[in-house]
Symmetry: C2
Subunit: 338 residues, 2 copies
Amino acid sequence: MRKGQFTVTFPTAPTIVSTGVTGGPFEGKGNLSHSFDKVYDDFYVGQASFEKAQKKLLESAFNIALEKGNIVKEDIQFVISGDLLNQITSSSFASAAVDAPYLGVFGACSTSMEGLGLAALIVDGGHADCVLTGTVSHNGAMEKQFRYPTEYGSQKPPTAQWTVTGAGAAILKANETGPKVTAATFGRVVDMGLTDPFNMGGAMAPAAVDTILRHLEDTGRTPADYDVIITGDLGKLGHSLSLEMLRDRGLDIPDDAFQDCGVLMYRENQGVQSGGSGCACSAVGMYGHFLQQMKEGHIKRMLCVATGALLSPLSYQQNESIPCIAHAVVIEQEGGTV
Amino acid sequence: MRKGQFTVTFPTAPTIVSTGVTGGPFEGKGNLSHSFDKVYDDFYVGQASFEKAQKKLLESAFNIALEKGNIVKEDIQFVISGDLLNQITSSSFASAAVDAPYLGVFGACSTSMEGLGLAALIVDGGHADCVLTGTVSHNGAMEKQFRYPTEYGSQKPPTAQWTVTGAGAAILKANETGPKVTAATFGRVVDMGLTDPFNMGGAMAPAAVDTILRHLEDTGRTPADYDVIITGDLGKLGHSLSLEMLRDRGLDIPDDAFQDCGVLMYRENQGVQSGGSGCACSAVGMYGHFLQQMKEGHIKRMLCVATGALLSPLSYQQNESIPCIAHAVVIEQEGGTV
């Protein structure tokens, strides 16, 4: 990476050889129901608590990725994972079963692409040949921790989003055939002074725009170089806001070439206000739906921009603003231009 | 890294060109008072809350590392940071000021060496030339979050440890003179089923031993190849336990070649039970005291093993065990054998 730039290129183009995507019952009824390898019809995923359910969703995604890729745990040289539960216990507990060197990461809802970008850094740098990465969220565990106990049935404003119950994992290998990770733009912390925790999309939009603009500048590309630019969980409001901001900067982006996993996740009649959110939102959308689209030949090159709000309930209570971040990863079809 | 191994070697030997170490008033009266670049004589570090104080300690350590290294923020290509405050807000907020691509990480008290090892992976892989990494803890913020409000004045058992108020940061660069990072052994999650949150040292000891044994096996070295093996914050109990476990495995380690930052941090009369702990404990000890010892010629090669307990207050309340981890980094004097 050249000084002053934010984009790392991966000349060896590590390959996503396998993914595992799990979801809860509500997600299984959503728009992206076809994205899941496994949908649990029990909100508790057969566990005694929301937190145990969150761990189980990730464990299951890890195991599915291993099985689908015909890879045994002993082949995994690093597991990179993180989530929004305090002290990322779901990730640490689920990673214990993989029994490989573990790198805990935290990027709030940008964790999926932080993990994938980091995995690509390690594989492309020649330090490992096979890395597992993943993230998870559970609506019950997250609403309880970040907002109000769900039993309160408290009302939400239209800008609020719905935490996705699900998990997404990917295995990255050197020298394989399949979708390639060719570059990553790691975002900086962007703080616009916003303080409304019920408008995460609005808070995160400037971070998404910052990373996309830096990516295009660093690579000398235009939006036309991508079949689709996908954000993680901006929701309806944040997504239209960021599109407006990008167009204000003179970028020509057709509506259908700019998508958001949070907007796509649920059906109109599911009553989720502005859309989906949570660590799993981008992971399910990108590792599930969009990689399927690529495998079916509909997408040749995509820019996956996962967005995260780096607040905590305590920082909000102490009147801190909501700093945000976005990490972007370029995924290209086998044989696409690297 | 070869399959089945846990140790990555860094042929380019990235250099620690600068460090910044800050501490609170209690630490300034401790055994390692000479380790700090700056000691604050106010427990609140001039801030309105413990949490703001924690952020300030890290910001200050970042700034000192930049100043001492004569490096401007624009030279930093990645900032890698994490801490134990929920959603690592201290790290995210402090990193905002650096304005570089930010990788949030979480390894509990092993975060210091997770960050340094990751920085070395990135620099050695040729993806960046200049990376800043750091971590922080504040006694007030951590005791409040993990144990009881300090105002309760609750009694602690002799196995309990004292969270270090401080921060440590390091800047890693390619092709410079100074202490070299030549290898890292990233640990796996080790869960021995222990559940007592007032005996972290005992819980973490097996993880430290696991990483040290794997490091020696991977590298074909013996403890005699190191002037000192340093653990992060096992405290008196965990440290003596891990030494015993290593000797049981037939390793010949003299007492003075096996040190623990938590044991060293405070004086006997400071009443800290088993010793220091917290993310800053290893960072202050390793980036402060032990790097000074290396610069003064007393140490040629050291293995820095930061240990972390991957629990949360909630996971403890839900009767989960305490999974632990240890990340080890080899630091060698300029001109030492790589």
